[in-house]
């Protein structure tokens, strides 16, 4: 019996494909794929349906299917294109096969359903897996990228390092900040660390708590931590929250913090006399004579 169903389907593949293409094109009018060019849409549809038939003839999933789904993922087509398409395909096939026989008893009906399901379901599973696997991969790559950006330490000058923080600080990142900070202080032999929070959008009690802990840990290994980049609105919320940041120095900007850091390491910036002004002075002195 199943072989007969399969035979009917394969023999009439042209009609089934035609029906399917019609329905899919019709459905397209009011949905997500409207931005895709007609040509590409039609050729993809054809390729899609050929793929489905290929998997029936070869009794299993083909390598082409993998390539096809990979390409659609790269093109950024929505997953619902595939699932809707296969759902429609299932309906078209069942309708067609049932239309071929005059008498329909429940046994025959369930055999057809079974046969078509065992054909279409693995394709759906495969495609959904491929898609979600791809997303998971992207997300994990982004997580790694984010982690690499999350707590950089820049040794700007001998004994002075800066840690610029941008974006939200969550528990995981707070841990990284602490680790990188302490490691970096030892590695670069830093006397002063400037923690810049200009880019941190919200400083709540959790973030403040982590900053305080990190600063305290830096103090324990014998360095100074200066918190810089406190914007006026952040300063106000910190005061409102009643957080005590009095244990270590804070500055409004990185520039001011850097000046303090130079003072702490017994250095200062002096302007060098440039050659132009030196010549002017010489001319001036000549004029006087």
């Amino acid at each position: 019996m199943p072989e007969r169903v399969q035979k009917i389907i394969i023999e009439n593949s042209d009609i089934i494909i035609k029906n399917w293409l019609e329905i899919v094109s019709e459905k397209r009018q009011n949905d997500y794929t409207s931005s895709i060019s007609e040509e590409l849409f039609q050729s993809t549809n054809r390729e899609f349906v050929n793929m489905i038939f290929a998997s029936l003839e070869q009794q299993g999933l083909t390598k082409d299917l993998e390539e096809f789904s990979e390409r659609l993922v790269n093109l950024g087509w929505p997953l619902s294109y595939l699932t809707d398409g296969l759902q429609t395909f299932r309906r078209v096939v069942i309708d067609f096969v049932l239309g071929q026989t005059d008498k329909i008893d429940t046994d025959y009906f369930s055999v057809i359903l079974d046969r078509v399901d065992s054909w279409v379901d693995p394709i759906i599973n495969k495609l959904v897996n491929e898609y979600s696997g791809n997303w998971e991969h992207t997300v994990s790559l982004q997580r790694v990228a984010l982690q690499e950006l999350s707590a950089p330490l820049i040794p700007v000058m001998r004994n002075i390092t800066i840690m610029p923080l941008i974006g939200t600080i969550d528990t995981e990142r707070a841990k990284l900040i602490m680790e990188n900070l302490l490691e970096g202080v030892i590695k670069h032999n830093a006397e002063v660390v400037l923690m810049d929070i200009t880019g941190v959008p919200v400083v709540d009690t959790m973030v403040a708590h982590h900053i305080i802990q990190a600063a305290e840990a830096v103090r324990l290994i014998g360095s100074n931590c200066i918190l810089v980049g406190i914007r006026p609105e952040i300063a106000q919320t910190i005061v409102n929250l009643g957080i005590d940041l009095g244990k270590f120095p804070t500055k409004s900007s990185l520039r001011k913090g850097f000046e303090t850091a130079l003072e702490l390491t017994n250095r200062k910036i002096i302007r060098q006399k440039d050659s132009a002004s030196a010549i002017e002075e010489m001319i001036e002195s000549l004029d006087k004579e």
């Binding site: 969550d170 919200v202 709540d204 006026p232 106000q236 409102n240 929250l241 009643g242 957080i243």
Partner: protein, 133 residues
């Protein structure tokens, strides 16, 4: 104005989603940067409390438009274990999780109106309002 009223808190990153939404609403209502930061921080505290103590809950927003004043109301609701002694958690420096213990009293100071109801069976509901001046 499309107004999305609620955010469900399940993961740590939902806290960020909640406060970004809150900040957006505050901005649309016309709050200044300082008040936006206050509102965002308050949401952050409330959402973090949900995440830490109740695991899941919701943060909802409501625009209050009365005759003489306008404001943003934040409602944080969860079905967690509840707070046994409310007067204790409203003291500065009290924390059961090793934090700073400035969260709830801080929210009260950041906002203009603050009300807390807690029950060991129903969970906790906190309402906070910031008026637009």
């Amino acid at each position: 104005m499309d107004f999305k009223p609620c955010v469900t808190i399940r993961k740590e990153w939902d806290i960020v989603g909640a406060r970004q939404l809150g900040r957006k609403h505050a901005k649309e209502l016309g709050f200044g940067t300082v008040d936006q930061a206050r509102i965002a921080t308050a949401i952050s505290e409330l959402a973090r409390n949900i995440y830490l103590y109740a695991r899941t809950g919701t943060i909802c927003f409501e625009v209050i438009d009365e005759l003489d004043k306008k404001g943003l109301k934040i409602v944080a609701k969860d079905n967690g274990p509840g707070i046994r002694d409310i007067s204790q958690v409203m003291q500065d420096g009290y924390s059961t999780s090793g934090g700073l213990g400035a969260g709830l009293p801080g929210v009260k100071r950041l906002m203009d109106f603050f009300e807390i109801r807690s029950d060991s069976e129903k969970g906790t509901e906190i309402e906070a309002i910031k008026w637009l001046r």
